[in-house]
Amino acid sequence: MQAITNKTQTNQLLVVMQQGSHQEQPVQDNSRPQHWFRKGAAAAWPICLGYLPVGLACGTLAQQAGLPFWAVGLMSILVFAGSAQFIAISMLAAGASPVSIILTTLIVNLRHTLMSSTLAVYLQEVNRWFLSLFAYGITDESFAVNMTRFRTGEWNRWQALAVNHLSNSAWVAATTCGALVGQLIPQGALGMDYAMTGMFISLLTFQLQNRIFILTGLLAGLISVTCYLLIPGDSYIIIASVCGATLGYIIKRRGRK
């Protein structure tokens, strides 16, 4: 069942994309790039709002660790990975070697292979330049937002790209501002610290399509907390995601027989 819907969605997506590339198609408002960008922006603003406090905090920490503001901006442009940047800043402050910082970054960001694989289902046969540009902006947040929309079939790759790059711009701006004026902003102003959590809660509710998804979410959460308490570092995310999804998949298969 899931298979059929997935396939039809991918087909619909291809049709939408083909329509978009032909000028002689009846010009509907929703086939224009401006429209896609606007749709992308409408989906991206909660991410940008969430990035504001996190980015400011990141920039402030970097400034306290002795990084000049341009280095913070440069890092956000070249790396664009929130948790890895926080870790790198604290390692820099502690005098860690560049090689160990780069290795840690790799380990922290390995979870994105899962997200990239999942997105590939909805970006079949898309040209490789687009994929290479798109890959730059795959983060926890943009992934969740884009996947939610791709699944409903109303999303195309340009809207998804707009989400990726708008969130990236917000992140670069927020971290650089944090390095410049972060110390003037009181901690926890206006419940800003909860923006990211609120966004993840909302995205989670969009994913709960049936009992299998609810069960998978509960199992992944349970495994995540357990691993978080038992294993130092960030491996809990990837362990819990893989185990949770696999258990959910096995249960789904069992139920079908």
């Binding site: 997935n6 660790a65 790799l106 730059y136 939610t148 819990a240």
Partner: protein
């Protein structure tokens, strides 16, 4: 810590490379390959699993040092936020409601 522009550029380029590769390789190869059905089915469960895995520790435990913590403000706020999200289906409004409740909770606790 005295680093030149070139030192920073080198370090951040290295970090950028190891960040980009895990995001790029699977997409680059899998998007042009026919994925087996079991993989598509499995991957469809990945988003909910990742979101839960990211969220759960921040609701149920403390970070420094890591230990279980029941009844954190984050968790208490998460319950009405979750219900609001299920009813409203709007991410933007949910974020704002969550922030407001967290701010309100912070005033009382």
């Amino acid at each position: 810590m005295n680093m030149s522009f070139f030192d920073y550029l080198l370090l951040f380029s290295g970090m950028g490379l190891v960040t980009y590769l895990p995001r790029w390789l699977p997409l680059f190869y899998l998007a042009h390959r026919r994925l087996p059905q079991w993989l598509i089915d499995w991957l469809s469960l990945i988003p909910v699993a990742i979101l839960s895995a990211l969220l759960a520790p921040s609701l149920f435990s403390d970070g420094h040092p890591r230990c279980l913590h029941w009844g954190k403000l984050e968790l208490l706020v998460a319950i009405p936020t979750l219900i609001f999200s299920l009813k409203s289906r709007s991410m933007g409004a949910t974020v704002l409601v969550g922030m407001f409740l967290y701010w309100l909770g912070g005033l009382f606790l």
